[in-house]
Symmetry: C2
Subunit: 209 residues, 2 copies
């Protein structure tokens, strides 16, 4: 509505300036009029929207990788005997289950958000899809970072243990399991960082008119 | 700069409209001119800025409360003897130390952000301070939620333990300690939620022109 108003104003203004500068350079003046009719910063906004789309694809890679890595995390202890088998799996620890569910949800959301991001590329001046994306992006950033840091504190315990609470580390016995879960955690932290970049980019896209 | 331009345009337009409608209703017309000079949605933006300021104060309360509660968390086990004293303190667990530092940083940031929020109230159309706030708010949301969920996973362990990894719960012995840390965690989660609301409000403030 605002852009419409300014456009109307400028078209009202045009005859005046044309009349004033008719003798000097009419060609230059008409090209100026076209530049005024085209909304400003359309190109910048389109660039931001494309960056948003690419970042979303990267984030999908990070969260999908984290989900799959966590889902496949498992190790058999080296001291397995014929009758006793010591195994570690991600669903031994509830936090890891939460991590997998959360990252699965975020991956699903990211796939669903791609069409909206495409709308932002096609129509860079539309603000409704961008606001919609900002709201859900913020919630999903929270979910991603929460799951990543919850797992980080458990992975730290698994590596170092805590003598004060008598929680012993188990990473020496289950090395594969620990490295898998650490990798998944890093992927999710990366996704959280990418999400924060997406939010800041969206804020810039909303700022430029 | 953008608003300056539109205002200059409207002041250029004013004499024309006045000359046209001088006979009809000069009083009505001049009030219309004032309405044009006043940028649209200024009131809404001011309302959003005031809401932002109030939410920031609430968030300060939440993070400060969380920091202080965690710092004072401590309990002596009921089976203390004359020679042995079983004590639990927040710095027995590194995650709790991280939580306290993170919440302290966030509280400090929030105090520093209040002047910028005030600028947004005084000048609702200024976009630079709002973008500045969005960038740092996003980072601080990440820090708050990360610290809260890292502590959440430890508090869960302290309450329920994990038989698969042989980590035993200790909340039955140190009830006070556990309730303090749980309270601090809830405060920090609340702060994270308030922060997310602030980011979404900022997006709306940037959207309306």
């Amino acid at each position: 509505m605002e852009t419409n108003k300014t456009m109307r104003e400028t078209t009202i203004n045009l005859p005046e300036t044309k009349a004033e500068a008719k003798e000097k350079a009419p060609l230059l003046n008409s090209s100026k009029a076209i530049a005024i009719l085209e909304p400003p910063n359309r190109g910048t906004k389109k660039g931001i929207a494309i960056g948003d789309f690419v970042l979303r694809l990267c984030t999908i890679g990070a969260t999908l990788g984290a989900t799959v890595t966590m889902g496949n995390a498992g190790a058999v202890a080296p001291f397995t005997t014929r009758f006793l088998r010591f195994e570690a799996q991600f669903n031994d620890i509830p936090t890891f289950v939460f991590f997998m569910v959360a990252n699965g949800i975020v991956t699903g959301y990211l796939f669903l958000s791609l069409p909206f991001s495409t709308i932002c590329i096609v129509r860079p001046l539309a603000k409704a899809p961008r606001i919609f994306l900002v709201i859900f992006d913020t919630a999903m950033t929270g979910l991603t970072l929460a799951s990543a840091s919850a797992v980080a504190s458990i992975v730290y315990l698994a590596h170092n243990g805590n003598p004060n609470t008598n929680w012993l580390p188990f990473c020496q016995q289950f090395g594969d399991f620990c490295s898998s879960t650490s990798g998944a955690m890093v992927g999710s932290l990366l996704a959280g960082t990418l999400f924060m970049t997406i939010i800041i980019l969206s804020a810039f896209a909303l700022k430029r008119n």
